[in-house]
């Protein structure tokens, strides 16, 4: 699977380990001064990183079950999109995502404290996404 390549990171990328150290359909925690980050590996081998806190009540997303490009939180079953950190409707909320780079099987994260501002989609928009008028 080709990873969307993100090259720009100021000040610099931080290597966090190799892809093989994360089970397929699994996650590992990277502990950092700005809090724990969950690094996911999907069944197709894509790598994503989210803050390890569920938008619902702060459950550790790294402990959930990974399916498709989503993770189901272990505490109350919210589903979170891995690629943008947004909760799958009808649940609403989002968690911070981090840019990821994979080179020669080594994962790097972009650890800026504020990421390109990530706004949760509005409630109305969410309703339409769910399609059930």
């Amino acid at each position: 699977m080709i990873q969307k390549s993100v090259t720009h990171c100021v000040p610099e990328w931080v290597e966090v380990g190799s892809v093989e150290n994360i089970p397929l359909r699994g996650a590992r925690v990277v502990s950092t001064p700005i809090g724990d980050i969950a690094v996911f590996r999907t069944g197709e081998g894509e790598i994503f990183a989210l803050r390890d806190r569920c938008p619902h009540r702060g459950g550790p997303l790294s402990q959930g079950i990974v399916h498709g490009r989503r993770v189901t939180c272990a505490l109350h079953g919210w589903k979170i999109e891995l690629f943008d950190g947004v909760a799958v409707p009808p649940d609403q909320g989002c968690t911070k995502r981090f840019d990821v780079r994979v080179e020669d099987g080594v994962i790097s994260l972009c650890l800026r404290a504020e990421i390109a501002k990530k706004v949760c989609r509005s409630a109305e928009e969410e309703n339409h996404v769910s399609g059930h008028a």
Partner: protein, 818 residues
């Protein structure tokens, strides 16, 4: 790829539900064009009665606004009636000349009210009861508060009559038959209904044949065959509906009473599908939305070119949506020779209940005055459950027929808005009701998705269904018997299980491919279920797929709200020793465990442990001879015991030793859900064995065995299974029962729910009556245990199994991060 063209004729409930389902499955497959004779978006026809009664407004019952069509790229021709289908050129033509080309055509024209062929039937002031236009005309006529006549004393007619009375009109109902709602009610219930309605001021003419509607410019009166004239300002014809198949017939499609379709909702022209009331399927037409929504689902699946779903017909049920009248009927409730009828008739309280049983299964049900158990009976009926086990109490409802507690009795009507319905997710009644009305939800799944109610332990499911039924005024939320395991598949739990066995599927991936899973790697629900089913089917062969297990089973500890874990070592039969207690104390001190707690399962819980410390704690506990208590698992948890004959002055047997033996035999057995056991030393039952999945109560002459109990949200006491004389028999029966449960229950179904679904009789037959079969089950249990009884803590603390689970990938220090 160029998009295919889909044209839909009929902008009503079945047609639009099909389109919605289709958009979910294949959003980009079609360019969709919808023709609707009515000049607005699709609305909830069912709720016309509340609009007539002034309880809702039109905007509240609109299901798909024009914005919705636009946003989904659908061309809507509202107010344009299709007058011709040109099959040769594959196009449809509307009355104003608009044409649309199709690759696939969906006919969803619904039905038309039957207009009696009598003089005066076309006079102004005569309306049907089908569309919002009809309701507007009725409301307009009711403004003068005059007289109204409703022709037809069926479901629709009575709802119209009730609404018009509510608007202040003086209403008469004329009905051809000698009882009201003769298609849905038997005589006794109909008589009670009649009394109630008459007490509210409705005039009812039975066995009355309408001969003519009188009037010159507008209706003035209705004349019956016997000469009676009833003066009136409004006539509502509600004598029945006729499937609207005229258009299809004119296009040369095979029609009988309705448009004939096969199980995939295809008409005789393979490009043309039909759904809704206009359809005749396996000789039947339907007039309620539940079956139509089922058709919609199947049809969408076919249109999406997935083609693995078929419609097999539904069981009818009816509920009258008139305030304070509780009435329900379903199935075939006529008395017949091969059927038994059980009746409760309490005129004083205005309650009537009738169940018709054939072969110990419910065939029909009529409830009047107390329909709180409607959904329960309906489910038993649809599932064909053998009710011989509780036949004597069946009529008293779910509460007294053995399923006590929260789900039962008048509960939810009496509940205030802020009563918590779902304890797991903290959802109260008002939240659910609001979500149903505001978000226009129809099914249990939708309520679960939007409110989370009933999405966790499921014990409030019954209540949520009742709320759904009453809020919508109908029980079309009840699905058909077959429920897919989850949204990733069309197959039910049972189908998945049997296919795994028959086709010798040995991994989750294989099962998903063979069973045509719709998603690449499933979801949290099906992956856990598949993992368990494979484990159960192939003991010793299948290795658990860690990534398809809930975190507690992956980490062998219970996750807590703050992300820390709890550790509960096993204490066999609730017995412990000085050295065990000392070891626990030492471990707690060494690792600064923040809290210790005695669980209800007679052991000690170390709470607030950081994940990375778990293996160390386990090693220390292992060193003291302690192993995992599986307190986190869908598996055998504990065997609770009392001190029994060893100490207690009432004890009849050594219940502690019995409990320890059972625990030694059963520990480590994975199951569809958690399994709790207990052994009491005498009928005083201090170990509370009668609310356990498997409970043993010692008596002088042996052991009584009980099954299917649980505590919790919805307490269920056990059913008595049998009595045995020896310890060996206790073990054999216990093992056989657990194995049958492991092999046959659905994932996440506790023994209580399982027994209620399959019936105690079915379990007795295999576990008590059939000695050979019992032995075979027992053997299979012991065989599977050979591979399961490995302490997962030891493997992780000493052998480095799954080491990555307990360690951070890396720790980034301050200097590295920005």
């Amino acid at each position: 790829m160029k998009k295919l063209k889909l044209v839909v004729i009929g902008n009503g409930m079945a047609g639009m539900r099909t389109v919605e389902e289709l958009l979910k499955l294949a959003p980009d497959l079609y360019d969709i064009t919808v023709f609707g004779a009515e000049p607005h978006g699709n609305y909830n026809r069912i709720l016309l009665s509340p609009v007539l009664a002034g309880e809702s407004s039109f905007s509240e019952i609109l299901l798909n606004s024009e914005v919705w069509y636009r946003e989904n790229g659908i061309t809507l021709y509202a107010g344009k009636e299709v007058v011709e289908i040109d099959r040769r050129h594959r196009k449809v033509i509307a009355s104003d000349g608009t044409e649309a080309q199709y690759d696939r055509l969906l006919i969803a024209t619904g039905s038309k009210p039957i207009a009696l062929p009598i003089p005066g039937a076309t006079l102004p002031g005569v309306v049907g009861f089908r569309t919002i236009r009809d309701v507007e005309m009725m409301l307009e006529a009711s403004r003068a508060k005059g007289n109204a006549v409703v022709i037809g004393g069926g479901l629709l007619g009575l709802e119209a009559a009730a609404g018009l009375m509510k608007q202040g009109m003086s209403v008469s109902v004329i009905h051809l038959m000698n009882t009201l709602m003769d298609r849905q009610l038997d005589e006794a219930a109909a008589a009670m209904l009649r009394r109630t309605l008459e007490a509210r001021g409705l005039k009812i003419f039975l066995s009355a044949n309408t001969e003519q509607i009188l009037g010159e410019e507008r209706v003035r009166a209705v004349r019956l065959a016997d000469g009676t004239e009833i003066p009136t300002d409004l006539v509502v014809m509600a004598v029945g509906i006729r499937p609207d198949a005229a258009l299809a017939k004119a296009a040369g499609l095979h029609c009988e009473r309705g448009i004939v379709t096969n199980d995939t909702m295809q008409t005789f022209d393979p490009r043309i599908y039909a759904v809704g009331e206009c359809v005749q399927h396996r000789g039947r037409t339907y007039g309620l939305v539940a079956p139509l929504f089922e058709q919609a689902k199947v049809c969408a699946n076919q249109l999406a070119l997935l083609g693995h779903s078929a419609y097999r017909g539904s069981t009818d049920s009816a509920r009258l949506k008139v305030a304070d009248i509780d009435l329900f009927s379903a199935g075939d409730f006529r008395e017949a020779e091969n059927a038994d009828t059980i009746v409760l008739h309490d005129l004083g309280r205005g309650i009537y209940k009738k169940l018709v049983l054939a072969d110990n299964r419910i065939r029909g049900v009529v409830l009047y005055g107390d329909a709180i158990d409607a959904s329960w009976y309906y489910q038993l009926l649809c599932d064909g459950v053998d009710v011989s086990g509780n036949r004597d109490r069946l009529l008293f409802g779910k509460a007294l027929a053995g399923d006590a507690g929260r789900g039962a009795k008048d509960t939810f009507l009496e509940l205030s808005d802020d009563t918590e319905i779902c304890g797991c997710n903290g959802v109260c009644k008002k939240t659910i009701v609001d979500a149903i009305t505001e978000k226009k939800l129809f099914t249990l799944e939708e309520v679960r998705a939007h409110t989370k109610a009933s999405s966790s332990c499921g014990s409030c499911t019954g209540l949520v269904k009742q709320i759904l039924a009453h809020t919508l005024g109908s029980d079309f939320s009840e699905g058909p018997t077959k429920k897919p395991l989850c949204a990733c598949t069309e197959y039910s739990h049972d189908e998945v299980r049997s296919t795994i066995r028959e086709e010798e599927l040995k991994s989750i991936g294989e099962a998903m491919v063979f069973l045509e899973w719709k998603t690449t790697d499933g979801c949290a629900a099906c992956r856990q279920a598949l993992n368990y089913y494979l484990h159960c089917a192939w003991p010793g062969e299948y290795e658990h797929d860690a990534q398809s297990r809930f975190i507690n089973e992956r980490a062998h500890a219970n996750i807590q709200k703050d992300g820390s874990y709890s550790v509960i070592p096993r204490m066999w039969g609730g017995m412990t020793t000085v050295s065990e207690l000392r070891a626990i104390a030492d471990v707690a001190e060494k690792h600064s465990v923040p809290a210790l707690h005695i669980t209800g399962g007679q052991r000690i819980d170390l709470l607030g442990v950081k994940k990375e410390v778990l293996p160390e704690i386990w090693r220390d506990l292992n060193d003291a001879g302690m192993v995992s208590g599986y307190a986190y698992a869908k598996a055998v948890r504990t065997v609770k015991t009392c001190v029994g004959k060893q100490w207690c002055r009432f004890g009849t047997q050594d219940s502690t030793a019995m409990g320890i033996e059972i625990e030694k035999m059963t520990w480590g057995a994975w199951a569809p859900h958690k399994v709790k056991l207990a052994v009491s030393g005498c009928p005083r039952n201090c170990a509370e064995a009668t609310i356990k999945d498997f409970g043993v109560v010692a008596v002088d002459s042996g052991w009584e065995l009980h099954v299917g109990g649980n505590g919790g949200v919805k307490v269920r006491a056990t059913d008595f299974l049998c009595k045995v004389a020896t310890e060996a028999e206790v073990l054999e029966t216990c093992g056989a029962f657990l194995q049958m449960y492991r092999e046959e229950a659905h994932y996440l179904e506790r023994t209580a729910a399982w027994i209620e679904r399959v019936g105690l009789a079915a379990i007795r037959k295999r576990i008590v009556d059939d000695a050979t079969g019992r032995k075979v089950l027992y053997e299979r249990f012991l065989h599977s245990q050979k591979f399961s009884q490995k302490d997962p803590w030891a493997e992780r603390a000493r052998e480095g199994v799954e080491a990555h689970e307990f360690k951070a990938l890396t720790v980034v220090t301050k200097g590295e991060a920005a």
